[in-house]
Amino acid sequence: MRKTEIAVIGGGPAGLMAALAAAEMGAEVTLVDKNNNLGGQLVKQTHMFFGSEKEHASTRGIDIGKLLAKEAQNHSKIKIMNNSEVIGYYPDDGVIGIEVEEEKFVKLKADKIIIATGASEKFLPFVNNDLPGIYGAGAVQTLMNEHGVVPGNDVLMVGAGNIGLIVSYQLMQAGVNVKAIIDAAPKIGGYLVHASKVARLGVPILTSYSVKAAYPNQITKALERASIWKVDQNWQPIPGTEKVLKVDVLCISVGLSPLAELLWQAGCNMKYVPQLGGHVPTRTNDLETSVTGIYVAGDVAGVEEASSAMIEGRLAGLNAAKSLGYDNGTYEEKHQEALNQLHDLRSGPVGEKIREGISQLVS
């Protein structure tokens, strides 16, 4: 059995920042990630980030991921286990079970655990929603931005939130035709700066529209057409408003839900908070869950975005290290700074939903 002071599960923006913050305080950290490359979903974000300088605003997500990964790799206090998937947490003895390289089972015992496993894409019910060619928007991003393969020729994007808008733009950068972006809500959910980028390129954004059905090609069995229809203010479809689009790809971008399996296994107190994407753990302001010694950061703590995930990661890392007695003299200052940054990021009308959600969880 391996031992470590702090285990960080998940090497995305939250996990990387958590590992770096804890190591900087002096704690010895093991960072576990199922992928070959660290960076989580940053590895496919070709757009530049907003927010503050400290969270690398104006840098492309993909470069932020590389930067943080390099820092973690070069840190003497951080041990990285990549290609290592955590497959269980055993609360009786506090052991984390890890499958390494798909063949070896490794047990890891940590004094403190930071869970930063992120989120997965939600699905949408409509007729034939299981056809090949219907992909999560993030999946399309992975295929094209990480592996250099385009998903098809003509795309219908479902969801006009930030992910839907950004991925639509990225599809066009890769030379793919985006036929339309639709959203059942009466308003575009994402930032207008992203919406206007795609609108300027001539992509129609149809609000109050939903998917009615998808249709396969009889020979290939993959997606060939999709029909959409208008919905009223009660989200009910209006018959007679159908439009048919010839598309071989339908991207679903209707939100994410936290990957909280390990939190359930650990017995953390969970609550259903729709504003944060689903079941999320109650926690202190310092991101410790109801189980002493288990911290959360990033989307698994509540679906938000990468900048807040990074700050949450730093906060969780600082606190986990501090609880073990590590402080290089800068804890107070950094701790307060992180709290202030989160407060600023979540202020204003954009952060209202997040504030409402978190207020139900913090004890």
């Binding site: 199922k34 992928n35 979903q41 070709t46 492309r60 993909i62 998937e85 997965s120 894409e121 699905f123 299981d130 056809l131 090949p132 060619g133 219907i134 992909y135 999560g136 993030g138 999946a139 399309v140 992975t142 295929l143 094209m144 931005n145 592996h147 250099g148 393969v149 385009v150 998903p151 950068q173 890769a174 030379g175 396969p216 290939t220 069995k221 993959a222 990957l259």
Partner: protein, 101 residues
């Protein structure tokens, strides 16, 4: 289809390897996910559901959703969206639950 030109990204050329899909010879890059090599070869149907025999492709592409299970080198239920392509791999459409040997 592979992206040849991109305004932001460059894709380093990896070593080309050969593999088979349902007995048909195909080419892909070593270390890329099997699903992306198949997609680049125009293969979108990866398996069929057990009961209704409905065609399945991948959905999440990051190993979460299990929509992309295929038989690889005789082993069933391999998540091909994360499994790396190697020279000579035998990739097959999966039509049932698969047996563990």
């Amino acid at each position: 289809m592979r992206i040849e030109q991109h305004p932001i990204l460059t894709f380093e050329k990896k070593k080309e390897v050969e593999f088979t899909f349902d007995g048909k010879k195909m080419k892909g890059y070593e270390g890329e996910p099997i699903a992306s090599a198949l997609h680049a070869n125009g293969v979108m149907v990866l398996s069929y559901s057990k009961n209704s025999h409905r065609a399945r492709g991948f959905y999440c592409a990051i190993g979460n959703c299990s929509s992309c299970l295929m038989t690889v080198n005789g082993e069933p239920n391999v998540r091909v969206c994360t499994e790396k392509l190697r020279e000579g791999m035998v990739v097959e459409t999966q039509r049932d639950r698969g047996d563990l040997k």
